[in-house]
């Protein structure tokens, strides 16, 4: 298999107004690569939810997107507080978001469920006090 195309982003943790820029950039990149609107939409939403989570829950992190011939892989890594109970966090409606975050429209507790719904594979590795890595795959062929 040929080498994947790799895109790397540093996600700034203290700026809400720029949160989501990496996802928007990826959307444009995938468009240029000629992927279908449906795939682009799924990748964009899954990545945006993950990117926002790193901003609001983990003070930022990194995003790596690898485009293979048959799939897109998104790896989001942070050194935030970690997730104590992943099963609980995956439940629709579960959120620890602050009131100020909620006032912006976040904190419905639907981000992780959306990431699961829009991807073909999703894995969360998290250690409390160390950080969280979310790996998602979307098949394109």
């Amino acid at each position: 298999m040929s080498e994947p195309l790799v895109f790397h982003f540093d996600i700034n943790g203290d700026d809400f107004s720029t949160a989501g820029q990496a996802s928007v950039q990826i959307k444009n990149n995938l468009r240029q690569l000629g992927l279908s609107p449906e795939i682009i939409r799924r990748v964009s939403i899954a990545m945006y939810e993950g990117e926002i989570n790193m901003v609001i829950h983990a003070n930022g992190g990194t995003a790596d997107v690898k485009v293979y011939e048959d799939c897109v892989e998104i790896i989001l890594a942070d050194n935030g507080p970690g997730i104590k109970d992943i099963d609980m966090a995956m439940k629709e409606g579960y959120s620890t978001a602050s009131d100020s975050t909620r006032s912006l429209g976040f904190g419905a507790g639907m981000g992780l469920p959306n990431m699961k719904r829009y991807t073909d594979d999703m894995k969360i590795d998290s250690t409390v006090g160390v950080g969280t890595t979310v790996t998602m795959k979307i098949n394109i062929a």
């Binding site: 809400f16 989501g20 996802s23 609107p37 964009s44 939403i45 945006y48 429209g105 976040f106 959306n114």
Partner: protein
């Protein structure tokens, strides 16, 4: 129907319309962004009272045809520029969300 036609038929104010020829199909009402990303369909009209920068990102990534700000909510000039640059159509209605949605019935 195209966004540009919808705006004029329903009497919505146009805040920005970089892609007025885009076809609208269906609608979704919601203010919690993850609900919108989970439930709104591509090409739909998204009715909301939220008006921060994240709305523009969500509209773009979720690939909705247009945002309709209800209740007379408006957007800062700076955000209108951002939406224009990102190709996001933004309309404005003086009506509450439900009445705004009823305007769309039979059109989208």
């Amino acid at each position: 129907m195209k966004v540009v036609e919808l705006a004029s038929l329903c009497g919505f104010e146009v805040l920005c319309m970089p892609d007025g020829d885009r076809q609208v199909s269906g609608a979704y009402i919601g203010d919690l962004l993850s609900w919108v990303m989970g439930r709104a369909r591509a090409d739909s009209a998204w009715i909301t009272i939220m008006s921060n920068v994240n709305v523009i990102a969500v509209a773009s990534l979720a690939d909705v045809a247009c945002v309709i700000l209800a209740e007379g909510v408006t957007l800062d000039d700076e955000l209108i520029k951002t939406a224009t640059a990102k190709g996001v159509n933004i309309l404005k209605s003086e009506l509450p969300a439900y009445e705004t949605a009823t305007e769309l019935v039979g059109k989208v």
